[in-house]
């Protein structure tokens, strides 16, 4: 089953959004920090993004 034109556009849009936003991520960012944020654990401040 092939993607429709609209699905291809949707995929491209999602990839573009992620690429734009990911530039702001710090090296130390990782998915587990989501749970930490909810549980009030760990550092509250974001470290500055760095060139990788």
């Amino acid at each position: 089953m092939e993607e429709s034109r609209q699905q291809q556009v949707e995929l491209a849009n999602m990839a573009g959004i992620i690429e734009r936003l990911a530039g702001e991520l710090a090296l130390g960012e990782e998915p587990a920090r989501f749970i930490a944020a909810l549980e009030g654990l760990g550092e509250d401040e974001d470290e500055a993004p760095r060139d990788e």
């Binding site: 999602m14 936003l21 960012e29 944020a37 909810l38």
Partner: protein, 467 residues
């Protein structure tokens, strides 16, 4: 308290004004009379419910009370696995989801004395915002026939509104508890991510799925959540935090509570009657002692996009087998949504998970430094007529669903607790509703706010004519 509410019914049973068998028979009479219109059930379990009611009646006569929900009839979305009943997940396959593990949240409710009336209708694989289902029938809106019940927990919300059961369990991955609650004029709570175990429930997106209660009142939802919540060795994401007694402080009022009405995003493009009703509810809460102010929130579109990408990728991973081996079994709109997920790269998926953590920290830090609760519309427009929606092309139908869930989806990404509360009706008689969003694990405040509002506004005393 009225015995139409879960809290009132539980109290009536405890006071022996009504027996568990009478409570079940009352529900069954309504279901037999009206469910041919609503399609709230996928599988009604009359025999099982009456058997359980008789056992609970005998226990009550002997002074043995199983728990706070002794004899209270409930319904369970048909993605909650319970031994002895098939779990279709809204697909055409009766036993689509087979699990050795019962749904922990449902089992806890039954162990607390609740009675299962059966398994409830839902959109296929919990995908879809409107409550349509080609295999089990479209769920009708109890307030205005022919309008959407909302999805994906469509049978849960419509069944509560129709008086088929005192409360129900739903699931919420992008709004699937709050959207049908908003469409059907009942209360629906998406708890904090991790507050309620998802063990034994079908996975749509393990990062975004939440289980929660739907009921007539915030008090009813509080009673259910107290039983459902808590750590669970079968679900590593279930929080080990202690579970408060949500009902005990529910009458504490809202004096001094800081409520924020978002300046950006949440009122943009929202229908006039909906926006006016939510602002009126905020005014009523201010009159009750809350401090209401406007607040600019971090742009939720970033989190909406991130949450959508994660959900699509995970859903396609989980349901790849039916998509590849039996695609003809799936409705075209479900196939189309799964198709997109296969095209998402690992790079984008993992970046989205990293972004989720960063966006959540920023949102919690910025918003809850200023306010205690955010108040927004829960649906951007009243429940739409279903037939014109279904006449649209697949891509347009799915795009419309995405727009309909744009006020709820950000809070799945953020993992924050969000309570949907009815706040009036349109001129045409369709429910209007707000969504109250709080700090992580602050369900107590949301339920207190919802209860305070409901007692003052009284919308929950109005019931649809379903006979």
């Amino acid at each position: 308290m009225s015995e139409e509410s879960l809290a009132g019914l539980a109290e009536g049973i405890r006071a022996r004004r009504i027996s568990p068998v009478e409570a079940v028979e009352r529900c069954l009479a309504r279901i037999r009379k009206s469910d041919s219109r609503f399609h709230a059930f996928i599988r009604l379990d009359e025999e099982g419910a009456l058997g359980a009611a008789r056992a609970l009646e005998a226990d009550a006569a002997a002074g043995r009370w199983r728990g706070p929900l002794h004899g209270v009839p409930l319904g369970f979305k048909d993605l909650c696995h319970l031994h002895g009943l098939p779990t279709s997940c809204g697909t055409r396959t009766p036993e689509y989801f087979v699990s050795a593990q019962e749904c922990s949240a449902a089992r806890r409710l039954l162990d607390a004395g609740a009675i299962s009336l059966g398994k409830l209708n839902m959109t296929e694989l919990a995908m879809g915002a409107f409550g349509d289902n080609a295999h089990h029938g479209d769920v009708d809106n109890p307030w205005v026939a022919g309008h959407a019940a909302g999805g994906s927990s469509s049978g849960s919300a419509a069944g509560v509104a129709a008086g088929f059961f005192a409360g129900a369990v739903g699931s919420d991955t992008g709004g699937s508890i709050r959207l049908p609650a908003g469409c059907c004029g009942v209360v629906g709570l998406k708890p904090t991510y991790g507050r309620v175990s998802r063990a034994g429930a079908m996975v749509l997106s393990w990062s975004m799925d939440h289980l929660g209660p739907l009921a007539w009142t915030a008090r009813d939802a509080a009673l259910m959540l107290k039983v459902m919540a808590g750590s669970d060795p079968a679900d590593a994401t279930a929080s080990r935090r202690a579970v408060p007694d949500y009902a005990s402080g529910i009458q504490g009022g809202v004096a001094g509570v800081r409520i924020g009405l978002p300046e950006n995003y949440f009122f943009e493009g929202v229908g006039e009657e909906m926006a006016a009703a939510v602002r009126q509810a905020a005014q009523q809460l201010e009159d009750l002692g809350a401090r209401v102010s406007e607040i600019r929130v971090p742009d939720p579109r970033a989190m909406t996009d991130v949450a959508m990408l994660i959900t699509r990728a995970e859903a396609s991973t989980v349901h790849a087998r039916v998509f590849r081996e039996r695609p003809q079994d799936l409705q075209p709109m479900v196939r189309a949504r799964l198709q997109v997920g296969f095209g998402i790269s690992a790079y984008d998926y993992l970046q989205a998970l990293r972004l989720r953590a960063k966006l959540t920290r920023a949102f919690v830090r910025e918003v809850f430094a200023e306010v205690d609760v955010l108040l927004t519309p829960v649906i951007p427009e009243p429940a739409p007529a279903l037939a014109p929606l279904k006449a649209a092309a697949v891509d347009e139908f799915n795009a419309r669903g995405g727009r309909f869930s744009r006020l709820t989806r950000p809070f799945n990404g953020l993992g924050l607790p969000a309570l949907s509360v009815p706040c009036g009706f349109t001129a045409a008689g369709l429910p209007l509703g707000f969504q109250a969003v709080g700090r992580p694990f602050d369900e107590s405040l949301l339920l207190r706010l919802g209860h305070t509002y409901q007692e003052a506004a009284g919308w929950h005393r109005r019931r649809p004519l379903v006979d």
